[in-house]
Structure formats: structure tokens, C-alpha cells
Amino acid sequence: MGSLLSAPVGRRAVLVGGAALVGAAGLSACSPGGGGSGSGGSKTLNVAYFGTQQQADKTAKVADAFIKANPGTSVKFNGINGTDWNDFFTKVLTQIAAGNPPDIVSVATEGVQLFAQKKLAHPLDDFVKRDKDQLAPYFKDVHPSLVEAMMYDGHLYELPTDFNAGNMYFNTSLLKKSGLELPKADWTMDDFKTVATAMKKASPDAVPFDWVVRLWGSWTSFMYANGGNLVTEGKYDGGDWLWSQFYAGDAAAQGRGGGWKWGAPTATSDAVVESLDLMIELANSGLSAKPDVGGGSTLQGLFSNNKIGMAIGGGFWAGGLHNAGMGPDTFDVQFFPKWKVQRHLFGTGGYGIFESSKNKDLAWEFLKSLVDPAAIGILTEGNSTTPSRRSMMTADRYAPTGPKNWKVFYDTLDKYPNTAPIAAPPYYNAMANALNQRTTEAMSSGSAKNALAGLQKDLETAAAAIGS
């Protein structure tokens, strides 16, 4: 048989063909986000949704009313799954790199500044000003801290649909077994240790307190309660157009600006070191587990199996524990304990419009429809998260899932003016990675100070790289 490769195919032809392919691949990969929304000016809105496609399909019914009101339009929810927001952003950015950016993206606090700073997200200011009358009832119903968390450099990028503050959940079975009751709202860090110690004594097979390593609701909750943060807190100028229009006379809106300005890293400050030292102390004394990195679903499973006595959770834990098989009376929630201050952190979610979208007007109309109570009802179904609208926080909502003390969720915003969003500067991805790495280092080595010195350096490098 003759040699297959002896056929007269010129080397030049092969090289030219190969180069063309490589060039094509390169060019396609180099295509910037401005390459088009993929909808090509049609009346289809592509929504990047954080979750499985199954969840995305379920959520897609939130668009039914919008589609009915806008004949000829369609909304396509694309589920992008990930272990956490960091993972989600990575995948969305990869989609953008592939030249297929969506029109709308679901973004929580973690990514608002990242998307805004990279000019991926379109400011909503003009839309909001134009439709102020239509939006007035919405803003009246939403705490200003949630709105401010969606601002960057004076501009508003999202209308919050939901939020979760870091409260403390209790397994009431383990609590009762310890002879204790749900602590009072003004409980302290000493009370927390007392409860944990009693739980350990009464239930040696369980861990009194467990947590995961991440930015939201991790040891960072202790850090907030200790008056510390990973970066300097500040506010951008601007935003008066919004506060004076929608929150005039509202005491909770006093001192609000154009969004949180996360400044120089402060990971080595005394308050931060002391907070991480406390976590090491809790782990070494058996009052807490050494944490895993990532999402909290494993924690919910262990909590529902009476393996964990206390854990940090937001409103979304109610739905999670219910789905894990817990009855409404088998768990409850309280504010986070007071240390130096009783301060909580929160994260809020919503939908933003991509700058590259060719359907911005239509996307805005859809965004408005998403903050309608009926739409928020769908988005927060089963208490998978907490509605941003205060009026939706009712006893009926929490009757099937619990907890009894559900008022804590919105009261965290209403009764504690110092409640603040998690620090999520534009270099959030690098920050989250560094936090994960340095926290596990501290827990493993037993030295918070050294690990946080490393974190400080990591954050400085990340901040310098992005020019902020």
C-alpha cells in the first residue's frame, strides 16, 4: 500500500491552512466583549443566570408577564452553574471572551464593582430618572443600604431583588439538649462561647459551630462584629440624584453616597487579626470545625442532621434547611452576636444590563418587571433568598419553612444602621482567592498574624494590578 502521507499536498498549503486556522481561533478568542450580544438586535433577551439550567428554566417563568406585555419578545435564561459567585463570574467572563456576552446578567454584590469598573455593565441612572414615577413605590419599599450596595462611582447598576445578611442559625434540638433557649437579640460574643461550650458538653458528636471559608458569612462576620474589615471603608461621591428623589426624609438614607469605595487593604489591623485568632481558638478548643472552602450546601446538610449547632446564614438558609428536611420548629435564627459592635454584613442580588447589549431599552423594561412584587415572589420562591422589598416579609411567607424569628432578616437592615455590604472591590476574584488561601493557612498553621500579613500583600498586589 502506498504511503498515505506521500500524496502531493504541498507543505506551503498545509502551513497556510494551519496559519489561517490559528489566526481564526486567535481572532475569535481576542474578540472583545463589544462583539455583540448574540441577539443581533432581535427581540430576544439573553439572561446569564447563576444556577443550573434546571433552576434557570424554573426561574424563567418570571419573564412570563413581561413577554405577555411585550408581544414578539422572548427571554432566554441560560443557567451558568458554579460553586460560588467567583466561579460564576469566571464562567461569564469566559463566555464574554468567546464573543457571546449576554444582554442581562444576574450579579450579586460580589461582582457589581468588577462589572462596573470593567465597563461591562451599563449604568441605569438615565433609565431610573426617566421612569422615576414608576419606580417610586419600589424604592420606598427597599432599604437604601441595598440600593447603595448596587452603586459604583456615583452610578446605579442594578435594582436589588433580594439580599442575605449574616445572621446566626441555631439547631433548636441541640439547643434544647444543652438546656438553652434562643439567645436574646443583644447577645454577645461571650454568650456565643457559652452556648457553644454547652452544646459541646451536651452533644459530643456534634460540632457547636461550623463555617466555610468565603467572603460572605465566614469569619468575616466576626471581623465586622469586631469593627474590622479587609479594606478601608469609604464612599464614592455622587448618588444625590437618587437619594433626594426617592429617599428624601428617610433617616436610613442619611450619609449615603455613590456606592462603597473600598480603599487600602487593612488585613493586618488588630481587629482583623483578633477575629481570625478567635476562629483558630474556637477550632483548637473543639467549639468549631476547621472549615472547608466554598459554598454552604454541605453545612446545611450537616446542620439538618444535627451535626452542627450553630452556623452563619441569611434568609436563604430557611429554604435550604427546609429542603434538607428540617421542620419550621427545628431551627431558628438570631442577630449576629455583639463583639465590639453588633454589626452585620450582607450581600444583595439583582440583574444588570451588559454594555454590549443591543437591546438596552428592552432589557431595562425587563429589569423593571423583575422588581415587581410578583416577580420577586418568583425569584425568592421557597425562601431560597430574602426579598429586597420589606412589604414581602410576612409571617405567611415563613410559615411553611420557618424560622419563627424571621423578622430578624429585614430588621438587620432596619434596626442596625451600621450593617454594610461585604467588601467587594473590582478585584473581588483575586480577593476571594487570597482570602481562601490565607484563611486555610492560618487555620492550619495556627498563626493568624503571619497568614494575614500574606493576605495584606496579596490584596495590595491585586489592588495595584487593577489600578484602584
Binding site: 498515505l4 506521500s6 481561533a25 461591562l120 476547621k290 483575586a430 498553621s445 491585586a462
Partner: protein, 321 residues
């Protein structure tokens, strides 16, 4: 009939000398071309796939290593800046150290355990049972490393894992499998070795099964014991398989990602942050695709050098005849 006449008249035979008739030559060339065209058509899809999904990204990675690119802004040419930065980046240097240590442990353990198991199965197990063992040992290789890592991370969980539970029942101390640098390294090695063992086991089973029986009989008649037979005869005879397993194993192990990514996220600290994890983190999470590509290029060159070195050293210990 003479022999020469017979040969010349055989269909398809070549003429032993002198020019062939012109039309016959043309026909032959035409058939040859047709055959070659058919061959090209057959491999074109595979070739195109490799070109687009393997060769092009490799070339693109090499090019990108000289750029700064965050996906969103246009790439900016920075020359050798990424490589200069890389040389002084302790995280990168550390990741290479972690990767090399993991790779050595994984490859050595895979070969030693795989060979030992192959010998045991070859000598102690009946022929019908061997196929069961082969299938059983090979099964983990068919499951995704990510799925296996998730299962093992539950098994090795410090507080709620089954392993520590049984250690507790035996009054043995609890091991911080995933929360200490040594424990996390050991766990990753155990999982990686467990999953890849089937491949090495199959290789050694085949190599041991194909050893020349006459040589083994001669050795046996000469009175050589099993240990001496193994080290003096069998081991040299299967040295090409050991070499193959070490080359493939090292290339795979140097690119280890799934196990540390799922089980430890590179921690505690950066104790299990491998180079490929760092590349992923740099490029896809910190959105520094140029720098990530530069680390990839260095890893590629390093792997090439290590493989070349393995081939060079193999001349001294691998016996092909």
C-alpha cells in the same frame, strides 16, 4: 516457464528493470493519488479537530504569553515582561515545587503498587479471576476525577469523614487529612494513585504475561530463586514498560488539577496549589490571561525537558532486547 517470465507476468508485479509502459505508469500514479486522497479524507476530520482544538490553542498560548490580556480590553504586547515577572514570583516557584513533589510521589507509588499488584495477580490468582481484578482495578479510571475527588473529600473530612470515624473506633488519633499541609498532600496522592493504578496495573499485567517462557524456564532449571529471578530477569525484561509508565505518569501527574481543586482548593494555604491550578487561577479567576499563558509555556518547556531527560537516562536502564 522460466522464473523471470513468471514474475514479470504476475498481476501487480513491478518490472525488474527498464521503463514501464507509459499508460501503466499513469494508471499507477492515478491509483496512488486516489488512494492518498482517500486517506487524507479519512484523517481530515481528526486532523482538523486536533488543529483547531489542540494545535491552535497551543500556538495561541505561546503568542498570548507575550501579551497582557484581561479578556475585555484588547491584548497589549508586553514582550518578555510576563516571563520576567514569573521568575521572581514566589507563588509560581512554589507551585512548581508542590507539583514536582506530588508528581514524584504519585508516579513512584503508582509504579511500585501497580507492579506489586500485577505480580500478585499473575502468580496467585487463577486465570478467570484475573479478568475480574483487571476490570475492578480499571474501573476508577473510567470515572471523572472531579466526581471521585468529591466522594473522597467526604470520606477524608476531618470531622465528619468515615476514615477518621473508623480511626476513632480503633482508638487511633484523628488525622487532619484536608486541613494540614502533610495530610492534604497525602490525601491528594492517595486519590490520584488510586484512580490511575488500573492503567499501570494493566500495563504490567500485559508485560509480565508476555515474558518469554523459555528464558524463565531456563532460569528456573538453573536454580534461581523467585526474588533473584524477578530482579535479574523479569525486571530488566519489563523495563520498557516501566519506562513507558514513568513517562506517561509523570506527564499526567505534572498536570494534576482536579483532585487539589475539588478537595483542597490548593490549601491549606498554598500547600497543594499545583502549577495547573495556579494557571487556572491566574488566567480564569484573576483574569490575567497573558501571565497565565506564560506559566503554561514554562510548564510545557519543563515537561519537554524532563521527558527528554527521561529518554536520555533510559539508555542506561531500559533493555529492549
Amino acid at each position: 516457464m522460466s522464473a523471470s517470465a513468471t514474475r514479470a507476468e504476475l498481476p501487480g508485479a513491478t518490472r525488474p528493470g527498464g521503463p514501464r509502459p507509459l499508460n501503466r505508469n499513469r494508471n499507477s500514479n492515478k491509483a496512488h493519488r486516489r488512494e492518498a486522497a482517500f486517506g487524507w479524507a479519512m484523517i481530515s476530520l481528526s486532523a482538523l479537530t486536533i488543529l483547531v482544538f489542540t494545535a491552535a490553542p497551543i500556538v495561541f498560548t505561546f503568542v498570548l504569553a507575550f501579551f497582557s490580556w484581561d479578556i475585555i480590553s484588547p491584548p497589549e504586547f508586553v514582550g518578555f515582561k510576563n516571563f520576567a515577572k514569573l521568575a521572581g514570583d514566589t507563588a509560581v516557584v512554589h507551585s512548581f515545587g508542590v507539583t514536582a513533589w506530588l508528581a514524584i510521589l504519585v508516579v513512584v507509588l503508582q509504579i511500585v503498587i501497580g507492579l506489586a499488584m500485577a505480580i500478585l495477580v499473575q502468580q496467585r490468582v487463577s486465570t478467570w479471576a484475573r479478568s475480574i481484578f483487571r476490570t475492578a482495578f480499571f474501573l476508577p479510571l473510567l470515572v471523572s476525577a472531579a466526581s471521585i475527588s468529591i466522594v473522597f473529600s467526604y470520606l477524608f473530612d476531618d470531622h465528619f469523614g468515615v476514615i477518621n470515624y473508623y480511626l476513632g473506633l480503633l482508638n487511633l488519633p484523628q488525622v487532619p487529612w484536608l486541613s494540614s499541609p502533610a495530610g492534604a498532600t497525602a490525601t491528594i496522592v492517595i486519590v490520584a494513585v488510586w484512580q490511575q493504578l488500573g492503567f499501570v496495573f494493566i500495563l504490567f499485567t500485559a508485560a509480565l504475561g508476555s515474558l518469554p517462557k523459555d528464558v524463565l524456564e531456563a532460569v528456573s532449571i538453573d536454580g534461581s530463586g523467585p526474588i533473584r529471578t524477578f530482579f535479574a530477569i523479569k525486571l530488566p525484561l519489563i523495563s520498557p514498560t516501566i519506562f513507558f509508565a514513568s513517562v506517561i505518569g509523570l506527564i499526567n501527574a505534572m498536570q494534576i488539577f482536579d483532585q487539589p481543586y475539588v478537595m483542597t482548593k490548593g490549601g491549606p494555604g498554598d500547600a497543594t496549589t499545583t502549577t495547573v491550578m495556579l494557571i487556572y487561577r491566574t488566567a480564569f479567576q484573576n483574569i490575567q490571561f497573558g501571565y497565565g499563558s506564560a506559566i503554561s509555556v514554562v510548564l510545557f518547556v519543563l515537561l519537554l525537558a524532563i521527558t527528554g531527560l527521561q529518554f536520555y537516562i533510559s539508555r542506561k536502564w531500559v533493555f529492549y532486547s
